[in-house]
């Protein structure tokens, strides 16, 4: 039987494991920490702007299980907030067990607290991976969904230090990139000022620490916009953000809170004593990162060079997805690329032609657009997402953005990719 090993249990890894299992492979999903979803444990926003199109494309292609699970676990749907339309917010506090269950139902073997620390390759093929306890795991194809952030030294050098985020490096050990262990030179994203990396763009505040009026309003409406007092309108913070879709003026002049189970604060960090001068936030404390008053994780410090099929350059049996595959933001983007990489890992084992998503689809155009942009000095300083900033504009220009389910299903049907991820290839 074909064996696909997926390393990294974030949204991208979960999606890759799912599509590889659907395509008929035996799948092992390895996760360094004790929880799946990675930074998706503190994410929550989906279906906003072009992410609606991308999610519906994935569903029509037969890879919708994870979006269906998010929909089923949604706290608020159809919310409009500054710069964003028809957003849904899944509940970050209850999402993980649900995803785990879905993957297990597909027969995927999930190993948590399994930190890969090295690999052995012969020529251009990875033979096996080694865990930090010297055990090994073999496979026919591998998917690198290890992300691009942490260990602590990176957050210290390129950010404000370890802010004790959900990645929990001190507890579970540093993230190790398969691509880099396979001696492939990785690409590093840059900030607008040319320095490396970008800071994660939001923090979670404990909802019980808000005033009861604010908490009620947040739970009722899904989001709250509070104008910042004049003295707190800060400058220079926006360039550091990973999530360029929120790097617009509204977010520099207002505090935007979103109900994802916690109160998601749409800024990378915010000194707690200043935060507490805002009405309703007098008792506020952070839930993630714990030191959200000081900093946040730094990402995009190790992107794998790859093609449109998401195969990593110069290694025959290594695929990648999520942040590892390009400077992209968000779990919709992670799932879309994850599905493709897991599917192509199986195609590799069967010696089949790789699936490339056509540019008539938002998800196909997205992957090609990012890879083209990343080759330019300006493009490497930007972040790409279906939900805003440069790519959403591009998507609208090409007429790829749609919030009509029927229209999207029709598009997929025209490309002949309906239910492609549901097809067992083996």
């Amino acid at each position: 039987m074909i064996k696909v090993v997926v390393v990294g249990g974030g949204w991208a890894g979960c999606a890759a494991a799912l599509s590889a299992a659907k395509a008929g492979a035996q799948v092992v999903l390895l996760e360094r920490t004790d929880l799946l979803l990675g930074t998706g444990l503190v994410g929550g926003i989906f279906r906003n702007n072009g992410r609606f199109t991308a999610a519906e494309e994935a569903i029509a292609m037969g890879g919708g299980d994870l979006f269906v699970a998010m929909d089923a676990n949604t706290r608020h749907r159809g919310v409009n907030f500054p710069g964003h339309s028809h957003a849904s917010f899944y509940d970050v506090t209850t999402m993980e067990p649900l995803v785990k269950k879905i993957l297990q139902n597909y027969g995927i073997e999930i190993k948590t607290r399994a930190r890969v620390s090295g690999l052995v390759k012969y020529g251009k093929k990875i033979q096996h991976l080694t865990f930090d306890n010297e055990e090994i795991i073999t496979g026919d194809a591998f998917v690198d969904t290890t992300g691009t952030t942490g260990p602590m030294g990176n957050c210290l050098k390129y950010g404000n230090g370890c802010a004790m985020c959900i990645l929990r490096c001190p507890t579970f050990g540093p993230r190790v990139s398969l691509t880099s262990k396979a001696d492939v030179k990785e690409i590093m994203g840059k900030k607008a000022d040319g320095s490396y990396g970008a800071m994660s763009g939001s923090c979670k505040i404990n909802k019980d620490s808000l005033s009861s009026e604010l908490k009620n309003q947040l739970e009722k409406e899904g989001m709250v916009v509070i104008p910042l007092p004049e003295n707190l309108k800060k400058s220079g913070m926006l360039g550091k953000k990973a999530c360029s879709q929120y790097a617009i003026a509204d977010y520099a002049e207002n505090i935007v809170l979103i109900d994802t189970g916690h109160a998601k604060l749409m800024t990378p960090f915010f000194p707690i004593d200043m935060l507490r001068t805002i009405p309703g936030l007098e008792r506020a404390r952070y839930e993630d990162p714990y030191s959200g008053g000081v900093g946040n994780s730094i990402r995009y410090l190790g992107i794998a060079p790859c093609d449109s099929a998401l195969k990593v350059d110069s290694i025959d049996n290594l695929f990648c997805a999520g942040e590892k595959s390009g400077i992209l933001v968000g779990h919709t983007e992670a799932v879309v690329t994850g599905l493709l990489s897991g599917h192509n890992a199986v195609r590799y084992c069967l010696d089949m032609k790789y699936l490339e998503l056509p540019t008539e689809l938002a998800s196909g155009d997205f992957i090609q657009f990012i890879h083209k942009q990343m080759a330019t000095e300006e493009g490497i300083k930007l972040r790409y997402t279906f939900s805003g900033s440069i790519y959403f504009e591009h998507m609208k220009t090409l007429g790829l953005y749609s919030a009509q389910r029927g229209e999207i299903i029709e598009r997929i049907s025209k490309t002949g990719l309906t239910d492609i991820y549901n097809t067992c290839l083996v």
Binding site: M152, G153, K157, F172, G173, L301
Partner: protein, 329 residues
């Protein structure tokens, strides 16, 4: 038990980390402090780059410290000759403060000694045999210009600098074994570190068998000590002729085959043990004393550097690795 020994600096996360090597991007471990752009250390302990950031605030070895600022603990004190074992071999006891004494109470630890009035380059490394109270016991062979100088003209003044820790390759094996069966091969001056090794191993209920040869020292001066520690001692007149055969017999007998072999003695003895293991067709973890020439002890001067089979250069005063990985010179 760990089969493979990671190459790792002995000083990681100690009060002496990050060290002077990090100032010039020559840390043996942290990729950032080697001058690389991102993390690639695979270390789950306290981040060394972080440690450096915090220590900078104390100006540990910063720009304001001058060349006389000691990099480790230093004590100017007196020593006494406890026993003369052979023509040029002495057991010395040196009284130091309790901080230095306690920090040395671990097998594999060593100090640098010199006459306080001499130039810095006179200092030489000596392995610690044992610590009793605030007394360091060491064995010195006065054969080179540095060690001879220490005992010349009835001198009894000494400057001690320490602690240093990388006296034994394979130290993690010794640190992590309990209720194990250990075979300790001891030759000549290697008797001194053997005492420290046995004292540490007996604490964890290990069963230790010692094969000891007198070597150039001419006697097994640790025999009483070992008997007191309740280990099984097999004295042989010659390690080469008798000891290795005895070792070979032990390895052939599955009842006696140990979990860990430790070789305390010259490099020729270490290679001899490896050859016997090869011949017996078994591969056991082997710890071995570090006999390399050391001048600075801080990874700077390079006098202790050795090359491994995968062509890495290892500064052995600081870096732990498996002795069998070194290229035999």
């Amino acid at each position: 038990m760990l089969i493979k020994l990671p190459t790792r600096c002995i000083d990681i996360n100690s009060p002496y980390c990050p060290c002077l090597l990090s100032e010039t991007n020559h840390c043996t471990f942290c990729s950032h402090l080697k001058g690389e752009a991102t993390c690639d250390c695979n270390w789950s302990g306290v981040c060394i780059l972080y440690e450096k950031q915090w220590q900078l605030k104390k100006d540990h070895w910063g720009s304001t410290s001058d060349i006389d600022t000691p990099v480790r603990l230093e004590a100017e004190t007196k020593f006494s000759i406890k026993e003369q074992i052979a023509a040029d071999t002495y057991v010395l006891t040196i009284e130091v403060n309790s901080e230095l004494a306690q920090s040395l109470d671990k097998c594999g630890s060593f100090v640098f000694l010199r006459r306080p009035s001499d130039q810095q380059f006179y200092h030489f490394p000596v392995g610690v045999m044992k610590i009793t109270g605030n007394l360091i016991h060491v064995v010195v062979e006065t054969i080179g210009p540095k060690s001879t100088r220490l005992l010349a003209d009835n001198n009894n003044q000494v400057l001690v600098r320490g602690p240093y820790y990388n006296g034994i390759f394979g130290q993690p094996w010794i640190d992590n074994i309990d209720n194990g069966k250990i075979l300790l091969i001891v030759g000549g001056i290697g008797q001194a570190p053997a005492v420290a090794i046995v004292r540490q191993l007996v604490k964890k209920n290990n069963h230790i068998k010692v094969i000891a040869a007198p070597g150039k020292v001419g006697q097994i001066f640790i025999a009483d000590e070992l008997t007191d520690l309740d280990v099984q001692l097999q004295e042989v007149t010659s390690m080469r002729q008798r000891g290795m055969r005895y070792l070979s017999d032990c390895l052939a007998n599955s009842q006696e085959c140990p979990d860990l072999i430790i070789s305390a003695g010259p490099d020729e003895q270490h290679y001899g043990v490896i050859a016997v293991m090869h011949a017996a067709g078994i591969s056991l973890p082997m710890a071995a004393t570090n006999n390399n020439t050391m001048c600075c002890g801080e990874g700077i001067c390079g006098s202790c550097q050795k090359v491994t089979k995968d062509n890495k250069r290892v500064r052995t005063c600081k870096v732990q690795t498996d002795f069998s990985q070194f290229i035999q010179e």
